[in-house]
Symmetry: C2
Subunit: 227 residues, 2 copies
């Protein structure tokens, strides 16, 4: 492993980039980190991801891998190690992939609309965001009853894909103008949040929720200012 060159092109608040950091840290893979400016992307980023010109990109021994779920799948194949993220069982693997994808499809989508939309659409985004979290709470109770993670006692592919949203909760509430239900209503979700937040590999790279919320409010103000 010592001969491997591993580099991550990233932008610090990105939940997609955080996924990749979490996966690398859970595997104990060391990597070079390159912070990108989204308004002035590096030549390396533009060349490594010509289709989307977006972070995160993992460059492994000169080869670029793009799209966060593809990257964490790649990391799991190259460094299976002691902490496998994708279950061996095909059905359990499909369930993990389904919930990882759910994060992009529902949680990220509603979160984007919370930052961008106005009026009724903004209100709807808040409802969609809460619905998505409620579904995650239910899923945790069904898939891993009594256990903290989608992966049971350890984080799996779904956990790694969804965990980066946690540090955004505060920011989403601020720009959404709502307060999320608490642990009485979503016991599985909050148990999961506590478990994720206590994993060393997660603590290592997660930005402070205050800093993320500040960033989210800057984005929101830009939208409001332009409206």
């Amino acid at each position: 492993m010592s001969k491997d060159s591993v580099k991550l092109l990233n932008f610090w608040p990105s939940m997609f980039g955080l996924r990749v950091r979490y996966a690398l840290d859970l595997k104990g893979v060391s990597y070079d980190y390159q912070e990108e400016s989204l308004s002035n992307k590096s030549k390396e980023l533009l060349e490594a991801n010509p289709i989307y010109t977006k972070i995160p990109v993992l460059i492994h021994n000169g080869k670029p891998i793009c799209e966060s779920l593809v990257i964490i799948d790649y990391i799991d194949s190259v460094w299976p190690g002691s902490h496998k993220l994708l279950p061996e069982d095909p059905y359990e693997k499909a369930v993990a992939r389904f919930w990882a994808d759910f994060g992009d499809r529902k949680l990220f989508d509603a979160g984007s609309r919370l930052r961008r939309a106005m009026g009724e659409e903004h209100k709807k985004a808040g409802e969609d965001f809460k619905w998505a979290l409620m579904k995650i709470d239910e899923a945790l109770g069904t898939i891993a009853p009594g256990k903290p993670f989608f992966g049971g006692d350890a984080m799996n592919f779904a956990d790694v894909a969804l965990a980066p949203f946690i540090c955004w909760f505060k920011g989403y509430q601020k720009v959404g103008g709502f307060v999320l239900p608490g642990p009485e209503e979503w016991p599985n979700l909050y148990k999961w949040v506590d478990a994720v937040n206590s994993v060393d590999a997660i603590k290592k790279s997660t930005p402070s929720p205050d800093k993320v919320a500040e960033f989210a409010e800057v984005l929101r103000k830009r939208v409001l200012g332009a409206a």
Copy 2:
């Protein structure tokens, strides 16, 4: 394999459903087929996919698997057989996943807008659709130079994910009001189209492009009628 119960809930023109049929047929897995009415979904569909209430759903020995890319990944794990869809090599696997995802992200998205959007947005959808096909042409030339498929001499995960769009080309052109560039401009794409269309497993389940185009025009007329 004879004891397996395999059932597909589908709607015939769906490219997502077609992917699943292609994967099952390439593997030689026989299955029961249930056509769903999107305006009157079966209780079985609603219970099997409570999150999205959408086809396709594969029900394997009573367990539902949802989301087409998750399903074809599942099929490849359960029935690896002689025709493996996902490459063993992690980088090649990542490339196949990237292009499969590209189909959803760019081709399907632009296609949806071709059916739904008006005016400038409709024009933009046509440009985006052609851009996506151009990128697929380029990718084929780079990933598998001289070979017909993303998978080289045989269809892989990316081929199965993208192949269902072929029978929609005619419909997309009709509702988009444009003519796609030909083989002179996109030689790799058309070589791929011919190769895909000559695979027995693909011929078996693909609806006629005329029938798909008719369906696309009905959808488009509904949008125009409501505008």
